[in-house]
């Protein structure tokens, strides 16, 4: 600890006042430490290296972070670059490297924490505010007291308000964790953390022991109030969980609301349409990775239409070759499509293998953000948005386009429609295609949160049917409402009943509900349905 403090002081001064390359020359040679087998030595070496002011320090630590730092049998350290290897110590190129006797410099979580602390400290004064922000956050988690002087210095010249608060919080964390500074400082630090008021703040406050009594007292009070906030927010949080689960259900069921709800086809292969969508995402991503890695971030933008087309076309194909012979025999469609789903599953298994496929989540979709007391995970947020868009489009198509008009005409009165010159078989095919296509798009979303495996569809088919039936067959709004209801109810039950019981309760409730309203929440009324 002591040496670390010294080094960071040195570093601070070095960075802030005069360039001092040779302040830490009494420190042990870090490079030999990095080559060691013990994680303690490596962690130690990192801090020393960071302090040494050696121009090679940054690239070396970076290499360590990216797992491109290797040890040769004779303890030399090499950095792997796109064009061959360079010597970590000197930075000059190294020829004739025998890859097989190279070993990664060993990294574990302890080492990683050291790296983060070091680079965190280094970045506190980086010109880029975003980097400073990240650095501050890292110091906040590492709570490294040796970065206190640095924090002070950084705060002194920090102008960006956001970064400033982050720095203050980091400072507070470091102070409290190390019981440094006057009682007054610590009290204000507790206040800062209370203002931050999130789980990390709470956990930090909870970890205090040997601080002054007054501080500890204030900390416990702070924890209490943070927890009060948490309880308050947990309702909203549950709502968010429910919404996101609901929108997943909605996406999964939307296609079925067309093929089953509107067309009356008990489409057991619906899940497989979703699955195909997910696999399309995988194919698109691998294609992009191969052809234009730069576009990876946009891969989903390509995947969505692709999935729609793939599933949609297959849907049309199915309708033309199978479903159309079975109209008016809904239960037969159940059997045929069930057989179909077996075939599709096995086909995918044969083509892609039976193990899961890796679908990467683009950066802008991963991670989460704390909005007040809420944790909003981006992928969930985007899925909710996506669901809204998909349903919106679907309704628009049905309501405002000529195709939609014809679809409704055909499904409401086939004979009349054909009498009016609508080519009903063609419309049937398109309707089924539309439903399948929507299922495909759902697959893209699901690939972001679930397995991409041949069984993907199976795990959603039952829920999808529940959603459609609960909402009332043939009523898209019903599907929306029922999906969200089921999602939210499920999520509010889970904490009390647990995941399994919660689901059981929902199912039983659903059965009983159907007894009360045999045609779902929003049944289509009138004589037409009776016959």
């Amino acid at each position: 600890m002591k040496s670390v403090r010294r080094l960071l002081l040195a570093l601070a001064i070095g960075l802030l006042i005069v360039p001092a390359a040779s302040r830490a020359d009494d420190a042990p040679d870090p490079y030999s430490g990095l080559a060691s087998q013990s994680f303690e030595d490596i962690a130690q070496a990192i801090t020393t290296l960071a302090a040494s002011g050696n121009p090679q320090a940054a690239p070396t630590i970076a290499a360590l972070q990216n797992e491109t730092l290797f040890v040769t049998p004779d303890q030399a350290l090499l950095i792997k670059t796109d064009d061959g290897y360079t010597n970590a110590r000197t930075g000059e190129k190294v020829a004739d490297v025998v890859e097989d006797d190279l070993a990664n410099v060993r990294v574990n979580n302890a080492v990683r924490r050291a790296i983060e602390a070091a680079s965190g400290a280094l970045d506190l004064v980086s010109p880029d505010p975003a980097t400073r922000l990240r650095a501050a956050a890292q110091v906040f988690t590492s709570r490294d007291p040796t970065s206190l002087p640095l924090l002070g210095a950084a705060l002194a010249k920090e102008t960006n308000a956001q970064v400033r608060t982050a720095l203050l919080q980091a400072q507070a964390a470091a102070q409290l964790a190390s019981n440094a500074g006057s009682e007054a400082d610590q009290l204000s630090a507790v206040a800062t953390l209370l203002a931050r008021g999130d789980i990390e703040a709470k956990s930090l406050l909870g970890s205090l022991h040997d601080n002054p009594q007054a501080v500890l007292a204030k900390a416990t009070a702070a924890i209490a109030s943070i927890e009060r906030m948490e309880r308050l927010w947990s309702l909203a949080q549950g709502l968010f969980y429910g919404l996101s689960l609901g929108s997943v259900l909605l996406l999964a069921a939307a296609g079925l609301a067309i093929t089953f709800g509107v067309m009356g086809v008990i489409n057991m292969a619906h899940g497989e349409m979703v699955m195909l969508g997910a696999y399309t995402t995988y194919v698109v991503q691998s294609a992009i990775a191969a052809a234009a890695p730069g576009l990876m971030g946009f891969s989903l933008m390509f995947a969505v239409p692709a999935a729609f087309l793939v599933s949609g076309l297959i849907g049309v194909l199915i309708e033309r070759t199978l479903i159309r012979f079975l109209y008016g025999r809904p239960l037969e469609t159940l059997l045929a499509t069930w057989g179909l789903s077996l075939v599709l599953q096995q086909a995918v298994r044969t083509i892609f293998g039976s193990s899961n496929r890796d679908v990467t989540t683009p950066g802008w979709m991963s991670g989460s953000d704390a909005v007040m007391g809420l944790t909003i995970t981006y992928n969930r947020l985007y899925i909710i948005a996506f669901a809204v868009v998909v349903i919106g489009l679907l309704m628009a198509v049905l309501r405002y386009t000529a195709l939609g008009l014809r679809m409704r005409a055909v499904t409401q009165n086939r004979r009349m429609a054909s009498a009016m010159g609508i080519r009903t078989p063609w419309i049937d095919a398109l309707t089924f295609g539309l439903g399948s296509g929507v299922a495909g798009m759902a697959g893209v979303a699901l690939s972001q949160i679930d397995n991409v495996s041949p069984n993907l569809g199976q795990s959603y088919i039952i829920d999808s049917f529940m959603v459609v039936v609960f909402g009332g067959v043939g009523n898209l709004w019903g599907t929306v409402v029922s999906a969200l209801t089921l999602g939210i109810v499920n999520k509010f039950l889970e904490p009390f009943a647990g995941a399994v019981l919660g689901k059981i309760v929902v199912l039983v409730a659903l059965i009983l509900f159907i007894q009360r309203k045999p045609r779902g929440m929003f049944p289509l009324k009138g004589r037409a349905v009776e016959q």
């Binding site: 994680f39 797992e67 070993a103 060993r106 990294v107 574990n108 979580n109 302890a110 990683r112 924490r113 988690t141 789980i199 990390e200 709470k202 956990s203 930090l204 406050l205 909870g206 970890s207 205090l208 948490e230 949080q237 549950g238 969980y241 996101s244 689960l245 997943v248 096995q346 298994r349 039976s354 193990s355 899961n356 496929r357 890796d358 679908v359 990467t360 989540t361 991963s366 991670g367 989460s368 944790t375 995970t377 981006y378 992928n379 969930r380 972001q448 949160i449 679930d450 397995n451 991409v452 495996s453 041949p454 069984n455 795990s459 999520k491 889970e494 904490p495 647990g498 995941a499 399994v500």
Partner: protein, 436 residues
């Protein structure tokens, strides 16, 4: 009258259908004798929910058999693999096991993944006195004469992992998260007892069970985060089963739980499972196994090469159950050679004490309790989906088939050598047969 005819036709169809496979039964048998091959049964699901994990083991068995035949087979005969698909359906496992043994007359069966499939076929192997090699880590609490367990028992996986986290990350608070079936239940029970014996307070242990294929982890992960915010270093011990892992880790990554904050150590997540996940957010999370693909040893390098050549997929991963299958197969080969026959009775006796190289560069031995000795490795997930071995036991560990931490089994031991030859010998009562 004509109705009768048509009906007899119907009967005909049914009868022929029956005859078809009953006949194929007899046929298969006669062929086995004729060709003078030694048949080996492979009983892994190629369809249904478990196909994800089990198909690989089918492939590796085919590879091993091919390799063995290249070396001239066994006892001068070629080995012949008989592959069937129990389709992740437990009763079908029993049926297929019977088929392999009674119809194809296999010398031994390599198969099963889930405990329930093993339990389902158990009576079949006892009844027909055949041999099953079971290549997956499991909950223990079992030792049968006809079954050889080459996967890890809880003490060869779970306990060392916990020890590592206690020592290196100073973990004080534990979340035991698992899928609600027998392996996690038992493992967590053992761990709970173990942790308490190490002075962990009850309120510092959180146990959570979820159904198979659980896909919405939002509030559970949030709960874990909350649990970890009590100011003590917290770790998650995950016995979550295959399918549910991908969404679980995705949720972890998204809710920003980094390994440096709350490390997750898993017992059912290997290279195969990681292949289905974007591992960048997961770097540093741990897994405890007895083998990792990244292990540097000549025999492992060779194994990986043959695997890639055999599957013609240069990036197909290997994993721990594959090693277990590899060890089991070689043990069987060696035992058969030792016994000079494939006769199950003799081979079963010959197997105890057989030692073969494992892929981590050491030797694994079949112990009298029909479990094997193996090293325990702790690996951290790397960005490339491989594991970085950060700790391993100095030597190999012997399996506790009966956990000393469980009420019902602490007095039990298994030893299949004469004179004891008992799977649940009670040292208290000195009698075979459990508690009494």
């Amino acid at each position: 009258m004509s109705t009768v005819r048509s009906w007899l036709r119907g009967a005909g169809i049914a009868a022929t259908a029956l005859a078809a496979f009953l006949g194929s039964a007899g046929l298969g048998a006669s062929q086995a004798q004729a060709q003078g091959t030694i048949k080996v049964g492979i009983l892994h699901s190629l369809s249904g929910t478990m196909a994800i994990s089990e198909t690989t083991l089918k492939d590796v068995m085919l590879m091993l058999i091919e390799e063995q035949n290249k070396k001239g087979g066994l006892l001068g005969k070629k080995l012949e693999a008989v592959v069937v698909d129990p389709a992740s359906n437990w009763p079908l496992f029993a049926e297929k096991a019977k088929e392999l043994i009674n119809v194809d007359h296999v010398a031994a069966v390599f198969g099963c993944w889930t405990s329930v499939s093993r339990k389902s076929v158990l009576p079949v192997f006892k009844e027909t006195d055949n041999i099953l090699f079971y290549p997956v880590q499991y909950e223990g609490e079992e030792s049968e004469r006809n079954v050889f367990y080459t996967g890890a028992a809880p003490n060869q996986q779970a306990i060392p992992a916990v020890d590592y986290l206690m020592a290196n990350d100073k973990v004080k608070r534990w979340v035991l998260a698992g899928t609600d079936y027998v392996y996690p239940r038992t493992t967590n029970k053992i761990l709970e007892a173990y942790l308490k014996s190490k002075g962990v307070a009850a309120e510092d242990i959180m146990i959570n069970y979820t159904p198979f294929g659980h896909s919405d982890w939002q509030n559970i992960v949030a709960e874990i985060k909350k649990f970890g915010s009590a100011g003590k270093k917290t770790a998650v011990v995950s016995t979550i089963n295959g399918d549910a892992n991908v969404p679980f880790y995705k949720e972890l990554g998204n809710q920003g739980i980094k390994a440096t904050d709350i490390p997750v150590v898993a017992f059912s997540v290997g290279e195969e499972e990681l292949a289905g996940i974007d591992t960048k957010p997961l770097v540093g999370h741990l897994a405890a196994w007895n083998y990792f693909e990244s292990v540097k040893s000549p025999v492992n390098t060779a194994f990986i090469k043959t695997w890639h050549d055999f599957t013609k997929k240069p990036n197909r991963t290997t994993n721990d159950p594959m090693e277990a299958a590899y060890i089991g197969f070689n043990m069987w080969i060696k035992a058969v050679q030792k016994a000079g026959t494939v006769d199950q009775d003799k081979v079963i006796d010959a197997l105890v004490g057989v030692a073969v190289p494992n892929l981590t560069g050491g030797l694994s031995t079949m112990m009298p309790n029909h479990h094997i000795t193996k090293p325990v490795l702790i690996g951290e997930v790397k960005a490339d989906g491989q594991f970085n071995v950060v700790w391993s036991t100095p030597g190999t560990v012997v399996a506790n088939e009966w956990s000393p931490y469980l009420e019902g089994s602490k007095d039990l031991i298994a030893d299949w050598r004469a004179p004891m030859s008992c799977g649940n010998f009670n040292v208290k009562t000195g009698k075979c047969g459990g508690a009494n």
